[in-house]
């Protein structure tokens, strides 16, 4: 899992991400986010990277690698 930025124009991407949810209710946003996660997870593909992310999010304090 990368700790340095890997996206060009991070500010631009960040605001596109927020724009994606414009006008959506929280429930709708929940589904859009879920779709995005599934799409990105499939794009990453590598289970060890995905598992590393899940493990970090489940227990951030235990992770000292960063």
């Amino acid at each position: 899992m990368k700790s340095e930025i890997n996206i060009s124009d991070p500010d631009g991407f960040y605001s596109s991400l927020i724009d994606l949810h414009e006008g959506l209710s929280t429930d709708e946003s929940l589904i859009v986010n879920a779709k995005l996660i599934l799409m990105m997870a499939n794009e990453i593909g590598d289970r060890s990277i995905l598992d590393e992310m899940l493990a970090f999010l489940r227990n951030p304090s235990e992770d000292q690698s960063r």
Binding site: L30, I31, V32, N33, A34, K35, L38, M39, N42
Partner: protein
């Protein structure tokens, strides 16, 4: 007599009126007052108990089956029988009959919302050219009736109706079983008691043992409906259909124009109201349309559990089938899992009873089938979690996967309407001789043997029919090869290893050689001339080598029979 699990549902309409009822026959034990000893007593005459008794007889072990009711299963239970189950039942003698009567299917379709086209279609028969299809659908009572009828050819099986096991007592040497019948109580003793007494398992309770695992808070209405409809025989599953908004539904064809309809209801329901005829009528009508005439065979309400006992072997009492493990039905892993228990257990029990293997061999039943049960529970739990999301976020992921599925192939792989029963590959079993040579993983030690069409003595036949009941040594040779004297000698061992030879299409069929006429075997088994497989009595691979070596076979056989690890 009341229904077996009467509180779950009831027969309705003309449905099935001619369910066989079997008479109580007063056993000699009651008159003589003597306590008879039988090597094996089986508590429960459901599919698992019956199959166990038949398989034991194939190994020359007599048994007494005690069944508290006087008939076979009611409606609305198992309908989907897997390829592996049919292969096991073929060995036991009823597979072909099941196939002839059942509705064959390989394809499942998943629908979402009001879209008329499926979002996802799956074909469960990965390897074609098999004797049996991925699945047939057949009412459970037929499966049981066929087993019961086949007992005519198994006089050593003593099936006793109206005979309820009410107490068990164990000592290091034997089990004593107390039986209640309409004509009074009596006792039997046995070396081993097989508890095949279903999910409530009175025997489990008598031993103060428990189930571990999860109970799902959801209710399903199951209606078995008799109608002439031209819906396809495929398994059709809906998420959020217009006729059951926000919930799931399933439609699946059975024999005799009976259709299984399954509606998810949710957890907070009024059971009585849901079983009201008008309510059920309305649900069924909404699915099948307005003009088809139909009648009910059975209606019931179910909640589901995915649980198992911690261990299946408790000294001389061994649990198999629903008494040992329970799953939600969406993977059709209940009876299909239970029959793999039988397949796994009986040859081991026979060797132990004959004194040819140590009782420790039975620990491998525990290990292998707990592993199999966990696989079934894992798959069934995941399906149930997808269908019945436990939180808003898991609902969101479910809906996201369903919506993405119409545009992206990858998302279809997340859609889970039940991962249907596949035979368990017994990876990590202590009985396996690990590979030391270069082989493809497909038929690795622990895996169930894959079938293939063959030619035998000039006629078409199937590979799996050449395996089973005892150990088999399969030599793959070139066109001119033959079974060596050393291989032949294994047939006379204490635990015999039947010698079998497989030759390519241009090989000579003399001496009962198996001709791999369509080359499937060579490909499935990654075989080259000289390759030798040691196959267990339950048609699982024990070991394989690129060349036959007597010492290695001896070692693998002793490992596979619990003598050494």
């Amino acid at each position: 007599m009341s229904a077996k699990y009467g509180e779950l549902g009831q027969a309705r309409g003309a449905g099935r009126s001619l369910q066989a009822v079997y008479p109580f026959v007063e056993p000699p034990d009651l008159q003589t007052g003597e306590t008879r000893h039988c090597p094996v007593v089986i508590a429960g005459g459901g599919p698992i108990g019956l199959a166990t008794a038949i398989d034991l007889d194939r190994h020359g072990i007599p048994s007494i089956v005690l069944e508290k009711h006087d008939s076979v299963s009611d409606g609305s239970r198992a309908i989907c029988w897997s390829k592996r189950t049919l292969e096991i039942l073929d060995r036991l003698g009823t597979g072909q009959r099941m196939l002839n009567k059942g509705v064959t299917w390989n394809v499942g379709k998943v629908y979402h919302g009001d879209r008329p086209d499926p979002i996802y279609t799956f074909d469960l028969l990965a390897d074609k050219a098999q004797k049996f299809p991925a699945f047939i659908n057949l009412q459970q009572y037929y499966a049981e009736e066929y087993l019961i009828e086949s007992l005519a050819g198994h006089p050593a099986v003593d099936l006793r109706w109206h005979s309820e096991v009410v107490a068990v007592e164990t000592s290091p040497e034997r089990v004593t079983v107390t039986v209640t019948t309409p004509a009074g109580d009596y006792q039997l003793t046995c070396d081993y008691l097989i508890a095949a007494d279903g999910h409530r398992s009175p025997v489990r309770h008598m031993l103060d043992l428990d189930f571990e695992g999860r109970v799902f808070e959801d209710n399903f209405l199951i209606a078995d409906v008799k109608m002439k409809a031209d819906f396809p025989a495929e398994r059709r599953f809906w998420f959020d259909p217009v006729f059951n908004p926000g919930k799931t539904a399933l439609l699946h064809k059975q024999a005799d124009d009976v259709w299984r309809i399954d509606f998810q209801l949710g957890w907070d329901i009024d059971r009585e109201a849901e079983l009201d005829q008008k309510t059920v009528d309305a649900r069924v009508r909404a699915l099948i349309g307005g003009d088809i005439e139909f009648d009910y065979e059975w209606i019931s309400l179910y909640t589901f559990q995915c649980r198992r006992m911690k261990n299946f072997v408790h000294g001389r009492i061994i649990f198999a089938g629903d008494s040992a493990h329970l799953v939600s039905p969406f993977g059709a892993r209940g009876a299909n899992g239970g029959l793999q228990d039988v397949d796994n257990l009986v040859w081991k029990l026979a060797l132990v009873l004959e004194g040819k293997a140590p009782p420790d061999l039975l620990d491998s039943y525990d290990q292998e089938r707990v592993y199999g049960a966990d696989e079934n529970i894992l798959n069934s739990s995941r399906s149930t979690d997808f269908m019945t999301p436990k939180s808003d976020i898991s609902t969101a992921f479910r809906d996201a996967a369903l919506e993405l599925a119409k545009d992206f192939a990858f998302a279809r792989m997340f859609v889970n309407s039940g991962r249907l029963s596949v035979p368990c590959t017994l990876d990590q079993s202590v009985l396996n001789e690990p590979d030391t040579e270069d082989f493809s993983a497909k038929q690795r030690p622990g895996s169930p043997c894959l079938d293939a069409p063959i030619m035998l003595n000039g006629s078409e036949s199937w590979f799996l029919n050449q395996l089973g009941d005892c150990f088999t040594g399969v030599l793959f040779s070139d066109a001119t090869g033959s079974i060596t004297d050393e291989m032949r000698a294994l047939e006379d061992w204490d635990i015999p290893v039947r010698a079998v030879i497989v030759k390519p299409d241009n090989g000579s069929p003399s001496g009962g050689a198996i001709i791999d006429s369509q080359a499937y075997l060579h490909s499935h088994y990654d075989a080259r001339p000289g390759t030798y497989y040691l196959i267990r009595p339950d048609q699982h691979v024990a070991a394989r080598w690129r060349a036959f070596d007597r010492t290695k076979v001896e070692r693998a056989l002793s490992r596979a029979t619990g003598h050494s690890t």
